[in-house]
Amino acid sequence: MWGYQKRLAADLSRWKANGWLTDEGEAQIARELVSNRRNFGLAPALGVLASVLLAFAVMSFVAAHWQDIARGARLVILFASMWTGYAVAGMFGARGQSGMSDAAILFAVAVFGASIALISQMFHIDGHAPDGVALWAAGALLSGVLLRSNAAVAFAMGLVAVWGALETFERAAVFWPFLLGWAAVSAAFLWQRWRPGLHLSALAVSAFVIALGYVLSDGHDHALVVALGLMAVVSGLAIERFEPAWHVAVEPVVGYGLMTTFAGAMALQFGENPSGVALIVMASLTLLVLIGSIAYGMSTRRPSAIWLGYLGFSIEILALYAKTVGTILGTSLFFLVAGVLVAALAALAWRLAHRSAESERSS
């Protein structure tokens, strides 16, 4: 956001200097920027923090004085807190302060979750905890969609992730219903056209795929993770080539696919115990994919691919170093070979760049 404003300010003066922009137009844009900044400022951020603190206050007050309050009154306190949250949200909404309104909705959703726990306590229900989390997630999603609150839908995604993790740990098996919850929340992000939410979706599903490797085939199915990650990368590249209308999806699909592939490859190389030859083959392939990512990022001007490539490359090299120190493989030999290979790639890249520059000049 701030980066965007800075860039825009620089562009504005250039556009004005080129005569593309009138004084009045510039003033209009500046006004809108200021009003956006006010909305995004400190107040809503503090509002969110305050709502979290207030929700904790309600929860701990009710929990601490549980036995002193008549059981009927406990329910009244919980319901009244929730309704107050929604009423405050409505008041802020009516004044156009959507950030503060979001904070109040978040408070109401938090009280809804606390109520589930406290009602369970009231009736000595030692239920299945993930069921409570799932119900809470459904409530958060409902509020998020009805009230168009991005914060509440993001909170629902967090709860869906917790739900999936709890069930997976308990069963030590894949918990497929997670995907239903994930799809519902992702659909809400799409419907609200909120891009940061889609990143949360991508992150959650990447974590699910990576976890598959640790759950399927007695916890040794990381090859599947690599395959699924590569599929995502390939489909991202296919979108780029054949569906120009969807270009906005290319970078995230490739990026999260690459992350998933790399997580699977790390587990295969360092979580399992491959033979020396297998390790060399896998490490070389991993480094090749990462170098490919850097090259792709540079040629298409996608910085995320470049940075993921660099980051992965560094992690891979460090992990290899730690693993091969003092083994038969011989750390120095491995790095010698890797160094020669990368140098060869560098030479190849230079020649390609040189040739394309030459052909451009001659054409």
């Binding site: 400022g41 059981r71 309704w83 409505g90 000595h124 009805l146 009230l147 168009r148």
Partner: protein, 200 residues
């Protein structure tokens, strides 16, 4: 696409705020009403409890109640049944029968609600917490949680109740619904009933 939580959007309308609040209140109320109905209409049984350990970070003091019904050993049941389909986390239905001295004993366990239930028997729905031993072997046994393992008490009184539980002077009063759901009505301490009055 809006890129921020706080960017300008129309605020929530009063109508939808009311809808959200009403639906969420109704959901919470249905939990309360269902539980009330279970405690009122369910068949009551008294089960002896064993000590475990206290304190829940979020919900104040509680006593953990262990039941003598579990773990259930395959070889202790008639016909040494198999525990197929009862992996960790799965739903389990445990059928209880009352012995001559009026204590409740496990008759059978299955992954589905039993088709035929003998007169006087009770079926409790639970979830498999652990499953040990190889299938069909004599050491195969299963631990089931029924959702009645926590009893929340006023702060500070947990330790006292713990001692009573340790002395085996406590029984849990459990209501069991027609679908097998179990709920704690209260405790039977030294033969005296302690239970919360119904809400409505």
């Amino acid at each position: 696409m809006s890129n921020s939580i706080g960017g300008w959007r129309p605020g929530p309308t009063w109508r939808w705020l009311c809808v959200a609040a009403v639906i969420q209140t109704a959901v919470l109320w249905s939990i309360v009403a269902k539980r009330q109905a279970l405690l009122r209409d369910g068949k009551e049984i008294a089960l002896p409890v064993m000590p475990v350990d206290p304190r829940d970070l979020f919900r104040g003091d509680y006593v953990t109640l262990g039941y003598e019904l579990t773990p259930i050993k395959s070889m202790a049941l008639d016909g040494r049944p198999s525990f197929d389909g009862l992996s960790k986390g799965a739903i389990a239905y445990v059928t209880l029968h009352q012995s001559v001295d009026e204590s409740w004993l496990v008759r059978s366990i299955s992954a589905k609600f039993p088709e035929r239930v003998d007169n006087g028997d009770i079926v409790i729905r639970g979830r498999v917490a652990y499953h040990w031993g190889t299938a069909g072997s004599s050491d195969e046994s299963i631990d089931v949680r029924f959702g009645i393992e926590r009893y929340f008490v006023p702060e500070g009184t947990g330790a006292l109740l713990e001692t009573k539980v340790r002395d085996k002077a406590i029984k849990a009063l459990v209501a069991v619904g027609a679908d097998g759901t179990a709920g704690i009505k209260g405790l039977l301490i030294d033969g005296q009933r302690h239970e919360d009055p119904p809400l409505f």
